[in-house]
């Protein structure tokens, strides 16, 4: 059953969020069968807000965002659903729009930065060259002007001596500086949406802190919507306004950052939060774990995809978890979870020692 944005629990929000994704499904036919990478995912993002998408590898978090950017190969991918950008000029559904329209939006309306800044920069062209190329796509100007704009942008993202470093090649930059250069390139046309796919996973914690701060500052400066794809719940706690938790291609929980962290309504989210050690609390004992491993996207378990690993599955009457996929339902205002148990049922199970 399709879930409409209005039913999504966010009804007190303005009707037209900047980006509305509705029933997005992405699948890849392979020799072994159909890989259902993203299944019926709906969410929305507002300008100036940060939505974090959390999940393990293979949960569909990157795949859904590559679809929004129009970066899947249409020949080997089945995409259905809508991804509507509500622009001043009117709404555009990038999944239905002609390729030419989407191409013109890339960089200008939406932009993306990737995990590995080395492989997303071209090693043969100078940093300045690559950044000004992005700007020249949308601006009818000379090379000199473009270079000046690139220097300005490099300066803005905190590259010291930008006018000197603009002619450097990617290999002359450190990992953190490359990611800054990527951000400069992504933001040079003032996009309204920045999708950051694991932007700091390849970086050290000290550099990670710098980059996250930079993204936050840039968001304020340009009033952008940011979609942050990550598996690091620490970063999510730091920057997110809303969180989508994905598991095996589906949204399993969605809500405000505090709701999801302090009152998580899905056993997977609870397990995830319990399994990460924290630097601010020392207990030394065993870490709590989620048993087993994520399922294959070709042969999903019947019923709820998480049920084989779920500590609460035995507490649902009549093997419902093994037979019926739960709907994404509102457990509290603005807080959705895909679980047969209600928030209070989970609470009382926890009191009995389940999932501890």
């Amino acid at each position: 059953m399709p879930i409409l944005i209005q039913e999504f629990g966010f009804s007190d929000r303005p009707m037209n969020a900047f980006l509305e994704v509705r029933n997005l499904s992405v699948s890849f036919p392979t020799d072994d069968g159909l890989v259902q990478a993203t299944n019926d995912v709906s969410f929305s993002v507002e300008l100036g807000q940060t939505l974090a998408i959390v999940g393990e590898s293979g949960s569909g978090k990157s795949v859904s965002n590559l679809a929004i950017m129009g970066l899947h190969n249409p020949k080997s991918t089945n995409i259905s659903g809508q991804a509507i950008f509500n622009l001043e000029t009117g709404p555009i559904d990038v999944l239905a729009a002609p390729e030419e329209t989407v191409r013109k939006m890339r960089g200008k309306t939406m932009s993306m930065i990737f995990q590995d800044p080395m492989s997303s920069l071209h090693p043969f062209y100078s940093i300045g060259n690559q950044i000004s190329e992005a700007w020249l796509l949308y601006n009818d100007a000379g090379k000199k002007e473009a270079k000046a704009r690139a220097i300005e942008m490099l300066d803005l993202v905190g590259i010291p001596g930008a006018s000197r470093r603009v002619d450097d090649f990617p290999h002359q930059f450190s990992g953190g500086m490359r990611q800054r250069a990527m951000i400069a390139m992504a933001l040079i046309n003032n996009p309204k949406l920045l999708i950051a796919d694991e932007p700091t996973t390849a970086l050290d914690v000290t550099v990670q802190a710098q980059i996250m701060e930079l993204i936050k500052n840039m968001q304020k400066e340009f009033n952008m919507a940011v979609i942050l794809i990550t598996h690091d719940l620490g970063i999510v706690a730091e920057v997110a306004d809303d969180i989508n938790v994905m598991y095996a291609g589906r949204l399993v929980e969605a809500g405000g950052v505090d709701d999801v962290f302090y009152n998580s309504d899905h056993p997977y989210t609870r397990g995830l939060l319990a399994s990460i050690p924290r630097v601010d609390s020392f207990h030394g004992g065993r870490l709590s774990t989620i048993p087993g491993q994520p399922p294959s996207l070709i042969h999903l378990p019947s019923g709820c995809s998480f049920s084989p690993r779920c500590a609460f599955a035995d507490h649902v009457a009549g093997n419902k978890c093994q037979t019926t996929m739960p709907e994404l339902t509102a457990k509290a205002p603005k807080h959705l979870a895909r679980c047969h148990l209600s928030a209070s049922e989970i609470e009382s199970a926890v009191k009995k020692g389940v999932g501890a």
Binding site: E56, D204, Q210, A237, L272, S275, I276, P277, Q293, P294
Partner: protein, 323 residues
């Protein structure tokens, strides 16, 4: 106090860079520049620092995968720093390694049985049948199905592969395992499983671990003591609890404050020390204290004199102005 199983004294490892295209710009990279520490039996020592600080090189040098430039590596009372190949052969069975990338560290053409069995067939006189039995019991120990002995690495997930690497490392019942970022390539829910496994194996076999990692929250969970490295040198050594509660070195403090905590309310009110700039090149480290270029407490003495590792409270710190 017990005798350390491993004592490292003044360890240095310099690499000579190739000098680029023309070969003219040869530089000495001081990856590890005078490091002293010891590891006691059954202890887990965490080794942390940013990439390029030399932590992996330390791990590899004490296993003699790299020839040390200078210094002593005393393993069970014997200095192996300049030991011959034959001498190392003996010692290898007592020191093993777990690698970061479970995809690259297992031979894709070998079955799990061959991978885990190869240290046994090299170092022991066990028969084929005995080896097979032992491999099956090892598989069970690391939480894999013993019936999967004839499968190939590609049939396993990342977490399972890491378990295979661990089974291989413990096959000879070593005394010390160098684990180089053993969980950083794994998903969050799988990380906890592998960390617990390492914990259990330590209890069972009395293993000592040198746990090299950049993820401070995992290091804090698993380690008894932690060594913080920066640019080839040790900045601070302390018991885990005191290091995380009362970091003495400004670098340790900055490193800890950069780690995000999965707690939104706490994060909102947290004061963060953001270090400026990047790690300087280990080819030309700053004079004096190597951290002085990024340190907010640096004074003139820091630029001229390298601080000694001295005991401050419950920590050992190399800083002129410890907290």
């Amino acid at each position: 106090m017990a005798t350390p199983i491993l004592k490292v004294v003044g360890l240095k490892k310099y690499f000579l860079s190739s000098g680029g295209f023309t070969g003219r710009n040869k530089q000495t990279i001081k990856a590890v520049d005078g490091v002293d520490f010891e590891i006691y039996p059954g202890e887990t020592v965490g080794l942390v620092g940013e990439s390029g600080c030399g932590k992996t090189t330390v791990g590899r040098t004490i296993l003699k995968l790299y020839e040390p430039t200078e210094g002593n590596i005393i393993f069970e009372g014997q200095d192996i720093a300049h030991a011959t190949k034959d001498e190392i052969y003996e010692i290898r069975s007592k020191m093993q390694m777990i690698f970061q990338d479970p995809y690259a560290s297992l031979n894709p053409r070998h079955t799990v049985g061959e991978i885990i069995g190869s240290p046994l067939s090299i170092h022991t006189k066990m028969t084929k049948d005995e080896i097979k039995k032992e491999v099956q019991s090892l598989l069970a120990k690391v939480g894999l199905n013993p019936e999967h002995i004839n499968r190939f690495p590609h049939e396993f997930s990342g977490g399972q592969r890491q378990r295979i690497g661990i089974a291989r490392a413990i096959a000879l019942r070593p005394k010390l395992i160098v684990a180089d970022e053993p969980v950083s390539a794994l998903d969050v829910s799988i990380q906890a499983q592998v960390v617990n496994l390492l914990d259990d194996l330590q209890d069972e076999f009395g293993l000592a671990y040198l746990f090299v990692a950049h993820d401070l929250s995992v290091v804090q969970h698993i380690s008894d003591r932690v060594i913080v490295m920066y640019l080839g040198k040790i900045m601070e050594v302390a018991k885990t609890e005191s290091l995380f509660k009362e970091p003495r070195h400004p670098y340790t403090k900055a490193l800890l404050s950069a780690v995000p905590i999965p707690d939104p309310k706490l994060e909102r009110n947290r004061e963060r020390i953001t270090l400026q700039g990047d790690l300087p090149s280990p080819a030309s480290p700053p004079s004096g204290c190597v951290f002085n270029t990024r340190c907010w407490k640096a004074k003139d003495i820091c630029r001229t004199t390298a601080p000694e590792l001295l005991t401050v409270g419950s920590s050992t710190v190399a800083c002129h102005f410890p907290e």
